[in-house]
Structure formats: structure tokens, C-alpha cells
């Protein structure tokens, strides 16, 4: 039996992790959370996720630094990364795209857009309805 995809949500705001995590509840996937870049990097060392949603501005280690580390290592180079940011800055978008980010979404958008970005990159199956 196939394991459900593992998604790593990285943001220093618990509220933002909760919003995306809640929106993902209807899909069969495993979710891990990290609240800064260093925690995210540790989580990746334990088990390589199928996709990472990565905030850019975080304490300890920024999302851009995590992205650079991911793309510099053969084992993690191909993990799709969706960058999450508080602002849609074209220069920043171009920078993270050139570093290998698969997508870039702003926090002002609806959660549905984040889910759409994730589903474009990893196959998510809807959860089976709960038995009565």
C-alpha cells in the first residue's frame, strides 16, 4: 500500500500553518510542521518530504536559506518547494524562482490558492468519507 505524501509546512506563524493544514485535511496526506528554517532542515534530514511549503521571512534560518540548502544537495534537489510570503515582490519572486522554487504564493491569497499550488506539484487523493 502506498504511503500518503508527506508535506512539510514551514512558517513561524502557527496561524498560517493551521490555516493551510486545515485546508489540507480533506486530502490523504501526512503533514509535518516546522516553525523556522532550522527546524525545517532537521525535519528534512529525518525524512525527505514530497513537498515543502516554505515561508520566506523566519527567525533562525530564513526560507531562502533553506531553499538554497535544499537545492544544493542531490537528495533534496528535486523536492518541490512552494514559497510563501507576506508580499508579492516581483524581484523576490524572480530570485526564488531562479533558485529553484516551484511556485510562489502570497499570504493575502485565499488558502484555496495554496492548495491548488500544492496539488499542481504533488498528487493528493481526497480522503475517503468517514464510516458511520
Amino acid at each position: 500500500m502506498n504511503q500518503p505524501p508527506l508535506l512539510l509546512l514551514v512558517d513561524d506563524s502557527r496561524a498560517t500553518r493551521t490555516i493551510i493544514g486545515t485546508a489540507l485535511r480533506e486530502y490523504d496526506c501526512e503533514i509535518r510542521e516546522a516553525c523556522n528554517g532550522a527546524e525545517a532542515w532537521s525535519a528534512v534530514q529525518e525524512r525527505i518530504p514530497d513537498l515543502i511549503v516554505l515561508d520566506i521571512t523566519m527567525p533562525i534560518m530564513s526560507g531562502v536559506e533553506v531553499l538554497a540548502r535544499l537545492k544544493s544537495q542531490a537528495a533534496t534537489r528535486d523536492v518541490p518547494v512552494v514559497m510563501l510570503t507576506a508580499n508579492a515582490n516581483p524581484d523576490e519572486m524572480a530570485t526564488v524562482r531562479s533558485m529553484g522554487a516551484a511556485d510562489y504564493i502570497t499570504k493575502l491569497h485565499k488558502p484555496a490558492l495554496a492548495i491548488e499550488a500544492i496539488r499542481n506539484l504533488v498528487a493528493l487523493q481526497p480522503n475517503a468519507p468517514a464510516a458511520c
Binding site: 506563524s13 496561524a15 508580499n87 516581483p90 499570504k107
Partner: protein, 171 residues
């Protein structure tokens, strides 16, 4: 990441009034990020017996300054209830209220940064939350302050942008 009106990705390139920048950014963040309307008001609350929460985010690079968002605990709890999708605002734990204040201030600073793209490269700090009574943000001499005072359902909201050169380069 809340229900929202369509978001324009347009980045302003023309010179702008910083007060208008703060006003439009605040209205947009409350509308798009929190699905809440704010309306301008002219007078600041004078009741100093109430505690205030202030979220701050620093801007560095080609535009240096700080964004401050002042609200009272009642509204901060309501914002947290909206973000965590909890019906009763008084059930939101204090840590989650601080988390949401930080995130809302971060998104406000991000929106201001987006509108100041013509200034050059700007980086944001992580947010800091201050809580206390009769809070007033002081600044060094020569610092310019742009302010937007508004209210959400009767609760005051004060958004401020301090910057140390007015007009900033390229603005």
C-alpha cells in the same frame, strides 16, 4: 489566507504619498487577509486605562523604517478568532493572539513593502509584539511618520510607518 476579494499583483511605480500607502495597505490587509472592513476615524481613543497590543516589523535596505500596528486586546482576540476559525474570541489562547498580531503586522509590512517597490530592495524583520498601557512609539529626531487611524466594528486600529528619510530615495 482568508476569504478575499481578487488581489491585484500590480506593483505601483509612481511616486506616492506615504500616508496613502499606509491607509491603502491597512484597508487591503484587513479586507483581503482577514475579511474584515475598517473605516477611517479622525480621533484616537483617549481611554489610557486599556491595554494595547502593538505589532512591529522593521524595514531595512533602500527604505529603512518600522511598521507598527496598534489594537486593543478585544480586537486582537477577534483577529485571532478569524484566523484560527474559532467562534468565541475569548477562547483564543494569549500565545495565539500574539502569533496572529505578528502575522497581521507582517502581512501589513509586506503590503507596504510591495507598494514601495520603486524604492529598491527592502527586507523585513520578523515581527515583535509589545503589550502595555499608554503606549506611544517615539522616534529619533528627523524621522517621518505616516499614520492611518481607523476602526473595525467600533474598535480602534492605528497603523504607522516610521522612516528616517522623507522623501525616501526614488519615492
Amino acid at each position: 489566507m482568508m476569504p478575499t476579494a481578487p488581489i491585484s499583483q500590480e506593483v505601483p511605480t509612481k511616486p506616492m504619498d506615504l500616508t496613502a500607502c499606509v491607509r491603502e495597505s491597512t484597508i487591503r490587509v484587513f479586507c483581503a487577509f482577514l475579511a474584515l472592513e475598517v473605516s477611517p476615524c479622525l480621533t484616537a481613543p483617549t481611554d489610557e486605562s486599556q491595554r494595547t497590543l502593538v505589532g512591529t516589523v522593521g524595514l531595512a535596505g533602500d527604505f529603512c523604517g518600522v511598521v507598527c500596528l496598534h489594537v486593543r486586546p478585544k480586537l486582537a482576540a477577534q483577529l485571532a478568532a478569524v484566523m484560527f476559525q474559532i467562534e468565541a474570541a475569548d477562547e483564543v489562547p494569549p500565545e495565539d493572539i500574539k502569533d496572529v498580531m505578528g502575522e497581521v503586522t507582517n502581512v501589513l509590512a509586506g503590503e507596504i513593502k510591495r507598494r514601495l517597490a520603486c524604492c529598491g530592495t527592502i527586507v523585513l524583520s520578523v515581527p515583535t509584539i509589545i503589550s502595555g498601557y499608554s503606549l506611544d512609539v517615539s522616534s529619533l529626531s528627523g524621522v517621518h511618520k505616516a499614520v492611518f487611524l481607523c476602526q473595525q466594528n467600533g474598535e480602534p486600529v492605528l497603523a504607522e510607518l516610521y522612516n528616517n528619510a522623507h522623501p525616501p530615495r526614488n519615492l
